[in-house]
Structure formats: C-alpha cells, structure tokens
C-alpha cells in the first residue's frame, strides 16, 4: 500500500506522466458528461440529494441503536456478525475463518474497505489463493498495485499497458483489443468462480430494519462470488447503514448516475441471509464483518461526521481539477480525490495525512457534484486548520505565515516591505522572478513589481468615486 506521507513524491511522479493525465482526463470527462445528462433529465435531483442526506443523518444520529438493531436482525436472518476495532482485527477475523473452514481459494469482488484494511496481502501471507474478479481490480492485482479511482480501478493504464501486462503475467500472445483482453480474464476467472471455497465482497448499503446488505455491480462477478462458493464474507464500515430497504430506491437513483453515468447499475444484489434454504444454492454461511477503524471517532466529531455519508460514487473525483492532474495514486491511500483528501487525515491521523487536505483548489465543484451533499470544501478547511494548529505543517510554511500575518495587520509596514521587494525585483538580471526553490517547480511566482491587488483595488475605487 502507498503511504500518504509520501504524497509530494507521488505527485511529482504523476505530474511527469503525460499518458496518465490524458487517460484520467478522457475517462473523467466522459463520466462527468454522462452524469450531467442524467441529472438534467431529473428535475427533482436537488430534492433527491437533500433526501438521501437526511436518511443518512437519521440513521447515524443514534448509531449505537441503529447498529444494535441491524445486528439483531442480521442474526435473526442467519447472518454471522463479527466486529472489528481496526484493520488488523478485521484481517485476522477473515484469515481465521478461512483456516477454520479449510478454505483454499477465495474469489473477491470489488471492495474499497478491503483495500483500506489491506486484506489481500494478509490472505496471501496465510497461503490463501485469492482472486480479484472485477476486471479493473484483476488488472490492478496482476500489476501489483492499488486502484487509482474509487469506481475505475485501472484508470491509470491504457489498453496497451494492459495488453503488455496480460502478455507478461498470463503468458498470452500480446493483444490490445479490449474485447479480447476481457475474454481472457473472463475465461480465467470463470474457472476460479467454479472452484472457490469462499467469496468476499464489500457492502454498499446495510438496511437496519431488515438486517440485509446490498452489493451493487455491473459485471456479474459479485453475484457469482456470492452465489457459487459455500461461504460468503462481506465487510462493511459501520457507516454503511441506511434505515430500511424501502429507502434504497432513493440511494440507487443517485448512485448509478454519479458513479458510472448509468440510470441503473446492472446488478443490485440484496442479501438477507444464507440462501441455501430458498434455492439449494448460494452460500451455506454468510459472515458480515462490521469495521470501525476510526469511524466511531469521526462520528463523535460533530463538524466532520458528515464525511461518513459518502457512498463512494467517485463523482467528486471526476470533477476535481486536482485529481484530474495527478490521478488517484498521488493521494497515497485507498481513498483519493476530494473525499480521499478528507478521509486520509481522519483515518490515518493528522501527521500521516497532513498533505492530503491541501490537494484541493477549494473550487466547490466536489460539493456541487456530490449526490450526498457532503460539504467537502468546508471539511477540507476544517482539517487544514487543525493541521496548522497542530504544528504539522512544514517549518518554512509556518515561518512564512507568521511573517505574512505580522505584516497584514500593519498596512504601512506591508506597503513599505512590498515596495522594497518591487525595487529588489527589478535589480534581478534577465527579468527573472525571485528564487523560490520547490514552489516554482510546477507554477510561477508572481512578480513583486507587478500591479498587485491593492493598487488595482485603489484604482477601481478611484474610478467609482470619479464616476459619481
């Protein structure tokens, strides 16, 4: 797994990669356009956003009660419920379960929570043959990397990259035809579906009233991972609750357009217990791992708990000018883009995640596009404040801000210093800017002798006075 504290390094790498930027730009443009078309067709879209936000607040207002009811209903439905304080405990529960049931092969469907807890390395270390079955995740698994987008895991790779990867890792003849590449994956994975002992999935929504959970997908791999192996394990963050399945249509109605620009996802699987007694197929055992991993602390934080309303649709990534430049790996963790920039310090701590909230221009497009109406810019500012207050910023930033704030409250001194800087600027040969190593690597430093905000403002005031 990448490390958020190395963000600067990842960003430098990403900015050097023109192919990455082109791939991210192309994919996100299309997703933004398709989403917007569907939103335009839905005159009550804003009401929908308000309503799903309200449903989430309602169910998380009293999380202890909601989770206890959900657990009791799940147990009544025959689902085995496990609780995990953190990533290590969640991994151990699943590894132990696999050992206890003598599992050899596991098929997994796409789950960001399993990325968060770094499940795959733990399963492999325990000697369990584990296959990602979502095509994008399968590609990323073969590559030995992590997903670069919440809903498009292999966004950073072109078809030529994937062709070369399949040639090297699967020993097939090189092809960059997407359909042929899919057929290879389909054939290989079909064999694994039919012989797997355990299926693992994430959870999109967990309905309190019914004690059932929902897994949404387009490829049919999640359904096959759930219905063929004899044991199914689902893992969910404790914030995935919704009040009831009768509220699900509202969430489905906002999720598919925001995630994939579709009116509806291809498959919505609702699992309310082992299905053996209904059809003699499907899992004999269903296990559900409820993960905290810092979420209860976030819920306790009134100003930031709304970040847990996220349904991982990726719409804020697609519209974000920063994400579109640097892609997903630059954030250094399982969650990326504007929502990742808030979740990284919340889950990993202010020190480890100190750079992430600054990966935003605060333009507000993420809020406008978020189906859950999460006020991401506001949360980013809250986190920036906390990081600054905790002293986790770089020394040069701290000193710079101290000097600036000292000058800002002394207008005369401010004018004098900037005037002096303008004179010094003109003494620099060849019209060069002030040296500012690091800062100017990817952007320009404004000239001190240019017409700054103050003089422009004064000019416009003078004009207004003159016009009266």
């Amino acid at each position: 797994m990448l490390k958020p504290r190395k963000t600067h390094h990842y960003i430098r790498q990403a900015l050097k990669n023109d192919c990455l930027r082109a791939a991210v730009g192309k994919a996100t443009d299309l997703a933004v356009r398709k989403r917007q078309d569907l939103v335009n067709e839905t005159p009550y879209w804003e009401d929908l956003r308000h309503h799903v936000h309200h449903l989430k607040s309602k169910v998380l207002e009293n999380p202890e009660q909601s989770l206890m009811t959900f657990e009791a209903r799940c147990i009544a439905n025959g689902i085995n419920v496990h609780w995990a304080e953190d990533a290590a405990e969640a991994r151990q529960i699943i590894v132990d379960l696999a050992a206890q049931k003598k599992v050899k092969k596991i098929v997994k469907s796409k789950s960001l929570t399993t990325e968060e807890i770094e499940l795959n390395p733990a399963l492999e270390k325990a000697g369990l043959e584990t296959w990602e079955t979502d095509l994008g995740e399968y590609i990323v698994q073969l590559e030995g990397k992590t997903p670069s987008h919440l809903t498009m895991p292999a966004l950073h790779l072109s078809r030529y990259d994937i062709g070369r990867l399949f040639e090297k890792k699967l020993g097939i003849e090189y092809t960059d035809n997407p359909n042929e590449l899919l057929q290879v994956a389909r054939q290989r994975l079909r064999e694994h579906f039919l012989s797997a002992d355990m299926g693992i999935s994430g959870v999109n929504f967990a309905a309190v009233e019914e004690g059932a959970f929902v897994v949404i997908e387009n490829e049919a791999n999640a359904h096959l991972s759930i219905s063929i192996p004899k044991i199914h394990v689902a893992i969910m963050g404790l914030e995935k609750l919704i009040p009831s399945l009768s509220d699900l249509p509202y969430f489905l109605k906002v999720l598919a357009p925001s995630a994939t620009g579709q009116k509806a996802s291809s498959y919505v699987n609702i699992i309310g217990g082992p299905q053996q007694h209904l059809m003699e197929e499907g899992p004999e055992e269903v296990h559900l791992v409820i993960l905290d991993n810092g979420r209860s602390n976030i819920l306790a934080d009134a100003s930031l708990r709304e970040t847990l309303f996220c349904i991982r649709c990726g719409a804020c990534l697609n519209i974000c000018p920063v994400f579109r430049q640097v892609g997903g790996h630059a954030y250094g963790w399982a969650y990326m883009g504007p929502i990742g920039a808030t979740l990284i310090p919340l889950y990993n701590g202010l020190s480890e995640g100190r750079y992430a909230p600054f990966l935003s221009s605060l333009c507000g497009a993420c809020f406008d596009n978020c189906p859950m109406r999460i006020q991401i810019p506001k949360h980013l500012l809250t986190l920036r404040n906390r990081i600054a207050e905790s002293g986790k910023t770089m020394l040069i930033e701290r000193v710079g801000m101290k000097i600036w704030s000292m000058l800002a409250v002394r207008p005369r001194l401010y004018r004098f210093i900037t005037g002096l800087a303008a004179i010094v600027q003109q003494l620099i040969p060849f019209d060069k800017a002030f040296p500012a190593p690091g800062y100017v690597r990817h952007r320009a430093l404004g000239r001190m002798d240019s017409k700054g905000f103050r003089s422009r403002f004064m000019d416009s005031e003078d004009r207004r006075e003159g016009g009266r």
Binding site: Y44, H51, E64, S227, I270, G272, G282
Partner: protein, 219 residues
C-alpha cells in the same frame, strides 16, 4: 471488553447529540409526487419507456401477444444463434413457452444443486421469468423466494427474460412499494446484460455474466 462492546460503548457516548441536518418534512412528499408524476399511467406507454430504457443499456426488447408468439420468438433467437438447448428457470409463463419449443430446442430443467454451476456453465442460453419489471430503468426483479436458481441469469451467454405486462411498474420506488419484506430481503435486480468499461472506458458487454439480455413482454 471485546470489539463489539468497545465500539458500541464509544457510539453510545455520542448518541442523540447534535442532530446533523435540519429537514423539511414536506420534502419526501414532494419528491415522491415528482417521481411518480414523471410517468404515464397506462401500461402501453410504460412498455414503450421500458423498451427505450432497455435498448439504452444494450438489451433487446420483444413484445408478444400470446404464449405461442413468445415461443416463436424464442425459437427464432435460438435458431439465429445456433443454440440447440435452453435452460429454463421458470414461473408458469416460462414453462408454458418452454413446452412449445421442444421440437426445435432441448429444454433443460435446473440441474441438482451439486452439479448446477458446472452444468450451467456450459449452456449458452437460458429462459427466466421476472417477477417485476421497472419501466424507468428497464430493471427486472427476481426475489429468491420465487426462484429455483439464479445461476441461469448469470452463467448463460444469452438470457431471455419473460415479463408479464401487468407486472410492469413505473420506477424503482414503486417496485419497492410492491415487494413484501421477505421478497426484498433476498433479491437480485438485473438491468441489461453484464458490462464493463474498465479498459479505457470502452463499454464491452458480457463481462462475467450474459452478453445478451432479451426481454419478451407478454400480454
């Protein structure tokens, strides 16, 4: 204390403090009325919407006035794709149609559970009966309590779904109002053939499930 107690203990301390958002109680009513109001009442026009939505997700739509006509359509589809066998996971309608195609197609019932996935993995065409259809999204609802197996929906390359016209609802909200708690708890909703756009956002059908989804709307 185990993990459960620790987590719930922490959550208990924060319960009921600081309600997160204020909410206008009339909003849900307004929203439901707007959602309902965007659909016609008559079933003919709903069928048209369903057909358009299905085609938009690369599904294929047929309408049949009788079981005989539906059987003829099934026969034609099988013939044009060189299928000589079909697996049927039926309700009454699918079974009735299956009875009428036996001279051109080998009709296979759902195999025993132990061999089910192995057998079905080699069969190219299946016929299933949807419990409900949703016009807005062209989704089909299959509650498990009415199904013998869901594997024919996923393992075959071509899936023919039979939907009775009087089982067509306007939108997803209406569907969940019609489902009983037991039906909605174990359910799969299917919208179009299986798909992926994981390689350069290029849409390819038949990712891990069917490449073709054909819906026959039956009067």
């Amino acid at each position: 204390m185990n993990a459960r107690e620790q987590i719930l203990g922490r959550l208990k301390a924060i319960s009921m403090t600081d309600p997160i958002s204020t909410y206008d109680d009339g909003l849900k009513h307004r929203l439901d009325a707007a959602w309902d109001g965007s659909f016609p009442d008559e079933s003919r026009r709903l069928a048209g919407l369903f057909a358009d939505a299905l085609e938009a997700v690369s599904g294929e739509f047929y309408s049949a006035a009788s079981v005989e006509e539906a059987a003829e359509i099934v026969g034609r589809i099988a013939h044009s794709s060189d299928y000589n066998a079909i697996v049927v996971d039926g309700g009454d309608m699918a079974d009735n149609i299956a009875l009428r195609v036996t001279d051109t197609l080998q009709v296979i019932a759902i195999p025993e559970a132990a061999q089910r996935s192995e057998v079905l993995a080699d069969i190219h065409c299946s016929m299933v009966e949807a419990h409900w259809g949703v016009a807005e999204t062209a989704s089909l609802a299959f509650p498990y309590i009415h199904a013998v197996s869901t594997q024919p929906h996923f393992l075959a390359e071509t899936v023919i779904a039979i939907l009775k016209r009087d089982r067509l609802l306007a939108h997803l909200g209406a569907l969940f109002n019609h489902l009983s708690p037991e039906e909605m708890k174990n359910l799969v909703l299917v919208t179009g053939p299986s798909r992926t756009a994981d390689i350069e956002k290029i849409l390819i059908l038949g990712a891990h499930g069917p490449k073709r989804l054909i819906v026959i709307l039956l009067d």
